[in-house]
Every structure is written in C-alpha cells, then in structure tokens.
Symmetry: C2
Subunit: 182 residues, 2 copies
C-alpha cells in the first residue's frame, strides 16, 4: 500500500560530467571563495564590521577619491546598502569624505591612515593565500589564472579589472534599472 502522499522517487546517480557541465570548476570556485573570505571575515568580527565594510574599505583604498556613485557601480549594490556601512566607516575614522573639486555635489572617498592600515591588515592573509596557491606555477600559468578570472567577469568590467586601480574610475555602466533613485 503506497502512502497517501506519494514520495517522489529519490535520484541516486551522482551529478558528474554527464551533461557537459563543469561541476568540478563550479565547486572549486565555491570552495575557493569560501575560504578566501574566511580570514578577513574572522578579523572583521573584532571591529563589529562585516564583509560589506571590507569591500568598501578595499576599493576606497585602492582607488582613493572614488565617488559614492562610482562605488555603487563597482559593488553593484544600492545606495541604501552602501549608506549604512559607509557611515560606520566614516564614524570610526577609517574613511573621510571630501567635497568634489569640480562638482561640489560629489563626495570623494578617501581612506585615513587608520583605514589604510586596516585595509592592509585584511589584505595580508588573502594575499598570502593567493601566493601559496600560485606557488609552483610557471609565469605563463599565472597569466592563465588571471586570464580565467578576468574572463569570468562581465563587460564593461572585464576590460578594466586586474589593471591599474585607476581603470576602475568613472565606469559609466549602461542604465539597467538597478538604481535606488531615478
């Protein structure tokens, strides 16, 4: 006698290369990123900061003078999401705002000495992890890793990431309705 609610039959075949889908690399990316973020995440707990603070701090350090609008496009988050973490970083003296010289409506974001120090501290274990993971690879193979990662990124960012920090400035992303205000 079957149960009143028929249980859909469980599938017991592991998902592997069958459908020409690259499960191995999908999984590797998940695990790599999971552990890549684990060290800074742990440190940030000390400051009552989260991963969002780290990202803001990173880009403000990497591209000092970035405006709020530019930062929103880099992070692909909304104004409201940024507001909270940015306010905390300013209140704690990690970031300062400077009125834009050309357009005084703009707020250029700069790290303070404190903010720069924290950014470097957070980048340290990540950089070590990367160096260890690259260890044993030939120069050309390192280039291949960079090529792969860069080509995982959608345009218009693909052609700008992994170059000089200034390449991240002033990317006018085509309007696509993701803004907090219109």
């Amino acid at each position: 006698m079957p149960k009143s609610a028929a249980v859909p039959s469980p599938i017991r075949e592991p998902l592997d290369g069958e459908a020409h889908l690259d499960f191995a690399l999908i999984e590797l990316l998940f695990f790599a990123y999971r552990d890549f973020t684990s060290d800074p995440d742990q440190m940030l707990d000390t400051y009552t900061f989260g991963r969002a603070h780290h990202r803001v701090l990173h880009f403000v350090n990497r591209v000092p003078g970035l405006t709020v609008a530019e930062l929103l496009e880099v992070l692909k988050i909304t104004k409201q999401s940024l507001a909270r973490v940015l306010k905390q970083l300013i209140d704690t003296g990690h970031v300062v705002q400077v009125q834009g010289p050309r357009d005084r409506r703009q707020r250029e974001l700069y790290p303070t000495h404190k903010g720069r120090t924290l950014a470097l501290t957070l980048a340290q274990p990540q950089s070590e992890r990367i160096a260890a993971a690259l260890d044993g690879l030939a120069p050309g193979e390192r280039k291949a890793v960079e090529h792969f990662l860069r080509n995982m990124v959608d345009e218009p960012w693909r052609s700008r990431v992994g170059l000089s920090p200034d390449a991240l400035r002033g990317v006018a992303v085509a309007e696509d309705g993701q803004h907090g205000s219109e």
Copy 2:
C-alpha cells in the same frame, strides 16, 4: 583656524603593489565570483529561492545520499541556517529525505527529478561562463587554473575538492566549536 573636530587627513595614494600584496588577484576574485553567481541568483528569484537554496541543491545533486551533518560541514553553516532552506526544498519537492539504512537517525538527502532538473538549469549558465573564460587556454593552463583554485582551499577540503563527487562524503572535520549543538 582648524575645525573643532580635526578631520584625519585623507590618503591620496592608490593602493597598488607597494606592500607586496596581490591586490590585482584579490580584486579579480571578487569580480569573478560576483558575476559567477549573478546568473543563478537571478533565476532563483523566480522560485523565491536564494543562493543558500542553490548551494544545498547543488551538493545534494552532486553527492546524493549526503546526510545533514555532512552537508553542514561542506557548507560551513549552522544547523539552523540549513534547516530553513532545506525545509523549503523538501516542501517544494526538490529534495527528499530517506532514513539512513545503517543508522536510522540519519537522513540521507536525495534530489527528486524536479530537483535534478533545477540543479542542471542553474548550473548551465555557470558552466557556460566557465567554458568561455577557459577558452583559448592550453590544457596545461586549465590545469593551472584548477591547481590555483584547489590550493586556495584549506585542508581537509583541499585534497578532496575537484575530484569525484564521492570524495566529499564523510569528511570528519576536526572539532573546532562551530557546531549548533554540542
């Protein structure tokens, strides 16, 4: 006359290779992962599912028969976090639980046909993105990418990821106080 609250001086130097830190790759990983997850995230909105559902669904499909405890160790989340999304996946008929044959306390997790189909659908754009990013690389360079990603992962997972799905079964992680119950 200085203002009453002295503004910490802004640092205007971009953060680049100065401190021997690999900011380029740190950034590439951020952008690559951001866009890697964007396609499935968008699809999942249709189902009122989030990224957490995707991860559970992926591993249940990849390693059918995985127990709840094993899944918690793979995802490195707590029991409570898993409970919510797992319940939803079961209620919507994507995943079924089967009482463990050896240990009847255990619940083995299996995808249904519906769950397998969704997993494949979500993996499709990710796999295409990976294939496109690998395009133009020599076989050895692809191996280098895998080497890099695998070595970004901490042990005991490093030696298990990117191999056969079964390698993810039964990893007894050393106790480190991250459990929901003791």
